[in-house]
């Protein structure tokens, strides 16, 4: 039996500590990890808790991130509550096994501390690794600050382990901006945190010796399509309502409200920026200042990135006249992911806002309030003209001649 840790109601934690405390409170059975900056402290702290008797679990040291996720897959198939953390190049090395985890329907929780992908090598935050995971079949939840990183881990376990869902989930936070920035985090007691998720309920576990199972089987053209369709069905039709249920239960327990799509000043907004991670909070501050000048600006933050909340987003954006989609990842050869997703979300609706795309913040470059003010200036011009007054894709915060495409 693990020792209880007495927490203050508000602890000063960075995003990494917040995530590792959540892993401790839900009593993760196995963490197989190969630490990488800036996610290292998550698994380091778990190992510390485990060594000091605050969690009944196993820390498995492995030789790569590929092996880390492989170890998690084995432990999850065996029938344990399993989690790990990674970033950037380590996430890239995990990609092959991410598809195995989701296809095998194993509810592993992966904390991804978002970091740029080299070359050039870079340890700072952008969303390249998060975008890389978007077709992998995992649920992807997005934190904007350490409080979210803590809370969303509980949500992730509750949803992923539900027998109607049984899909792995990632909790994303921005490298350094969230992971290494200490803020006040409202805590749950160990008992509250554990009880929110509950005892792990195994399903088709290999340690059920009376019902032997083979995990990770091969299928060819005769079965593969049906398996992938079934996985997509769970992600598209079961995961979203279960996430909403978990958000409701979490609000009841803590008073903290999460939504598939987070909005700020969107009720009467004529123009909006859409972004993820720490940028959402910067944009909220800018919108507050613009509102003081009488400008009807708003912010939309994507909380659940996969499955994509298409209907909820279409509802939020139905009256907006100009939208800036802010992508913190180089799309390498096309428009940004958020531009494409939002275009797809709105294309068959009556809303026909002017939609433009901004690439920003690569490799940890700051997105300043001045940048956001200039973006809203563009959006205002687009709204007034009823068509784009700028190229569709612009680079923000980049040195050198202005760069834009389309």
């Amino acid at each position: 039996m693990a020792d209880t840790m007495e927490l203050r109601d508000i602890e000063v934690w960075d995003g990494n500590m917040a995530a590792s405390q959540a892993l401790r409170q839900v009593q993760v059975d196995v963490v197989a990890a190969y630490p990488i900056t800036p996610s290292t402290p998550i698994v380091e702290n778990y190992a510390n808790f485990e060594a000091n008797g605050y969690v009944d679990g196993e820390f498995v040291m492995v030789e790569s991130e590929h092996a880390a996720m492989s170890g998690c897959i084995g432990a999850a198939a065996a029938g344990g509550r399993v989690a790990t953390a990674t970033s950037s190049q380590g996430f890239a090395l995990m990609v092959e096994t991410l598809y195995s985890a989701s296809g095998m329907r194993l509810p592993i929780i992966l904390n991804v501390v978002n970091r740029a992908l080299g070359a050039p090598l870079n340890v700072n935050g952008d969303h390249s690794d998060m975008y890389l995971g978007r077709d992998s079949g995992w649920i992807q939840l997005n934190a904007y600050n350490p409080q979210h990183a803590y809370d969303l881990n509980f949500i992730a376990f509750k949803v992923a382990e539900d027998h109607d869902v049984r899909l792995p989930a990632m909790v994303h936070q921005d490298g350094f901006m969230t992971s290494h920035t200490a803020q006040g985090v409202h805590t749950m007691t160990d008992e509250q945190g554990f009880n929110f998720v509950g005892e792990f309920q195994p399903m088709n576990d290999m340690l059920d010796l009376d019902h032997p199972v083979t995990h990770g089987v091969q299928t060819e053209e005769d079965w593969h399509f049906e398996h992938k369709a079934r996985q997509q069905h769970a992600l598209m039709t079961v995961a979203i309502p279960k996430i909403e249920e978990a958000f409701d239960a979490f609000e009841k327990l803590t008073g903290r409200r999460y939504n598939l799509v987070e909005t700020h000043q969107m009720d009467d907004a004529e123009m909006a920026v859409i972004c993820m991670g720490t940028s959402v909070e910067t944009a909220m501050e800018v919108v507050n200042e613009l509102r003081a000048q009488g400008i009807k600006a708003g912010v939309v933050g994507i909380r659940v990135f996969r499955p994509w909340p298409l209907e909820q987003l279409a509802e939020v954006l139905k009256n907006v006249k100009a939208i800036g989609a802010l992508d913190r990842s180089s799309p390498h050869g096309t428009v940004g992911m958020l531009f494409n997703e939002i275009a797809g979300t709105l294309f068959n609706t009556d809303a026909k806002p002017v939609l433009t795309n901004y690439i920003y913040g690569l490799g940890g470059r700051d997105l300043t309030k001045a940048h956001l003010v200039s973006i809203f200036g563009d959006l205002k011009a687009n709204m007034d003209a009823g068509k784009p007054t700028t190229p569709l894709q612009q680079y923000i915060g980049l040195r050198g001649p202005k760069l834009s495409f389309f």
């Binding site: 095998m104 329907r105 032997p212 089987v217 049906e226 398996h227 069905h233």
Partner: protein, 138 residues
């Protein structure tokens, strides 16, 4: 058998070996186990084979080498006696023939279409070694 649609099977890349729960499986003979339709025991892979081993019990000394070395558990043995070959799963690799120590061998490879009775009638005789001819006992 009609194959199930996308909503007609258990989730995950997962298959069950047996129908229902098992008990004392280690002491239950394979033919008495409730293997599931998805178990490889249920599926015949006989058509993978182009040559087959045939067994001549007249020469077998029940050393169990073939049983130990068979990579597909296709040697059927009961009470430490060689009984025969599981032709649903044997792939014709020939390892059992290779490791058979008797003279002549108690297992030999034949073309898949070879008639067993004729093969047994024409089974090779004991090969006499030169040394043995020099020191004949009778």
């Amino acid at each position: 058998m009609e194959k199930a649609g996308w909503d007609g099977f258990e989730i995950g890349a997962m298959l069950r070996t047996f129908e229902g729960a098992i008990q004392n499986i280690a002491t239950t003979l394979p033919e008495d186990r409730a293997y599931s339709q998805s178990s490889s025991f249920t599926a015949s892979v006989a058509d993978w084979r182009i040559e087959k081993p045939l067994f001549n019990k007249d020469y077998c000394i029940d050393c169990q080498f073939c049983w130990i070395y068979c990579p597909d558990m296709s040697i059927i043995a009961r009470d430490k006696k060689m009984v025969g070959i599981d032709f649903d799963h044997c792939k014709g690799c020939g390892i059992c023939v290779e490791v058979c120590p008797t003279n002549p061998k108690s297992l030999l490879m034949f073309a898949e279409q070879q008639d067993e009775d004729i093969a047994l009638e024409q089974w090779p005789k004991k090969e006499k070694k030169e040394k043995e001819t020099e020191v004949e006992e009778d």
